[in-house]
Structure formats: C-alpha cells, structure tokens
Chain length 166, copies 2
DNA sequence: CACAAATACATAACTAGTTATATAATGAGT
DNA sequence: ACTCATTATATAACTAGTTATGTATTTGTG
C-alpha cells in the first residue's frame, strides 16, 4: 500500500486534490448519464442549465455563468450546437455577439432531465457529502470568494520574509 | 452580472466546481513558482514529493501515491526525467518495472523547496481556508472514501424508483 | 516444459479545460 | 468623418489529466 502523498501534503497540493476529486465526480456522473441513456457529457450539464435558466446567452455570458474562460465557452457551445441541443445566432444589435438558446430538442432533454435525472444525481452526490462536518457548498463559495479577493501570490508577497517555521 | 450556475446547482455540478477550483489553485500556485524562479509545474509537486518521500518508486507506485492513472504517471515521470529532476532505471528484479528516483539536481530542488517555498505556499492556501466552518481536508478525505466505497451509479441504483420530490 | 493469464508500462487518442493570439465589430475622442 | 482603443469571439497551441490498446515480461497451471 502506497501513501497518498496528495492527501498527506494537505494545503500545498490542494489544487491537485480538488482536480482529482472533480474529475472523479465528473467521470462517475458521466457513467450514470450513459446508463440512463442521456446523450450528454457531464461537463455539459452546467452549460445546458445556464442556457435553460438565463438564455439566450452570449458566449461571454455562458463563460461567466459556468465559470470557465471564453475559449472554453466557445468550445462548449460548439459541442452543444453539433449535438443539436442549442441554436446559435448572431445578435442583431452587435454583430460580434452570438446568442445561444436551446433548440426544441435541447429544451425537451433539459425538461426530462430536470424531472427524472438531475434530482437523482443531486441526491446521490448529497448522500456522499451527508456526513461531512460542515457545509461543504458554503465553504466552496468562501474559498472562491477568497481567491477572487486576494490571489495567492499577493498573500505570499505579504508574508513576513523570515524563514518559515522549521 | 451573470449568475454562477455551477454554484447555484450545488451537488449536481459539484464535479465541475471542484475542477474549476482545482484548476484555479494549480494556476495560482504556478504563478507563485514562476515568480520564485522554480523550474517546475505545480502539477509536478505531488510527484516530486512522492519520489522524495517514498523513492525509488515504480510507475505504478507513483500513480498510486499521486492519485492519477498509470499513463498519467508515465507522462509525469517523462517530464521530470526530461527536466533532469529524476532518474529512471529498469528494475533488476523485474524488467517490466522502472524505478524512479531523484537526481542530485532533483534532490537539491526538493530540499530548497521544502525549506523556502512549500511552507509559504502551504501557509497562503491555509489562509484562504482559515475561516471555513468545517475541516476541509478531512471533508475531502471523507468524500474520497465514500466515492471509493460506493460509486455513484450504485447509489442511484438503490434509490427508490418513485419520482424524486418535485 | 509449454502455454495462458496476469502484470507493468508505453503509446494513441481523447476530454476538459487553459493561455496566447488573430480577426471583426463597436464605441469614444478629436 | 476618421482613427484608435476596446470588446466579442474564434482559433491555435498547450496543460493535465483520462480511457483504450499494444507490447514485453513474469507467474501460475497442467
């Protein structure tokens, strides 16, 4: 049995740890979507939900709603469009902008998912987090706010310059 | 201001949310390493620490120690070797296995990092998590254990088949 | 001793993002 | 009216992983 070095290093490797848990969760949600016959990638769920709730959206708004960069949002939009789930049109007010909305097919998929699938996934993931000693989702919100407020390198710049404790 | 749909969806999109926080943290640690002139990727830190602590390691052991798949560990090993930080030799006992150990250069980088850099990163990330209302690192350990114990699709399979609450 | 199964790793192809840069359109200032 | 700065998006190249598959070696069984 090999030690889990990422767990042991704690805060130093927190980024790697968050990523691996994120990938694991995305992969397991993907398996569930496949078993239930839903033709979407788990990474597309946030975008579908965003367009459903807030649509029509521009590419920039989609990026912001999902919390990814603009090229990432372009890529997601392209995938969903190729799957026939969203429609992309140029804005009549600003030709630079493109407006993303659900197609009939997309709307139907989202409606049936909201009724039959997403609550089951939500419940199963909530079950994993049920016995945690603290409100995980709020803590994640706090972490994201703190990162937004003061990036790491500024926190390090204001540390005292004596040697860290031995 | 666009709503943060990933935050609003909570458990359903927890995988995406973990990934984005993980990527954000890795990116910010990377910026710090660049500013301090350390010639490593933040994603390589866990592997360097693993080889330092447990070395020599096989590729499979490195994968396990860092919590990634075997091809991912091969890729990491190749990067570190190309940077001159680790040495890779074939095991004399089992020709299938390769043994990874720190080079002099790698050992030196790890020693100075342990003294001068890693504690500062650890402290800065700990500061971000200082006011959380729960023990984050323990919560992550619990989540990983629960995922290990019962994958999502089995949790969903055992849910009652009546409609989830409206 | 021979063969099949298992194991260890490398490689190809892919996912899910990122950063850097290019292009087109809009808006502000003179 | 023109020019330059800004904005919106697309594309290229990249990172940090994954899954699938292939090859080489070891182990177990008959």
């Amino acid at each position: 049995m090999v030690d889990d070095v990422v767990r042991e290093l704690g805060y130093l490797t927190l980024g790697s740890r968050f990523r691996r848990i994120g990938e694991r969760l995305q992969s397991e949600v993907q398996q569930v979507l496949d078993e239930l016959g839903l033709p979407v990638q788990s990474s597309q769920l946030p975008a579908l939900a965003a367009v459903d709730r807030l649509g029509p959206l521009t590419v920039g708004e989609l990026a912001e709603a999902v919390g990814i960069t603009q090229p990432g949002a372009t890529r997601l939009m392209t995938q969903l469009s190729e799957s026939g789930l969203v429609d992309v049109r140029q804005s009549s007010e600003d030709q630079r902008r493109r407006l993303i909305s659900l197609t009939d097919k997309g709307r139907q998929l989202v409606e049936t998912s909201k009724r039959d699938v997403w609550p089951r996934i939500d419940t199963a993931v909530a079950e994993i987090c049920a016995d945690l000693t603290g409100p995980l989702l709020e803590q994640l919100t706090a972490i994201e706010h703190h990162l937004e407020a003061t990036p790491l390198h500024r926190r390090i710049a204001r540390q005292p310059h004596d040697q860290p404790s031995a």
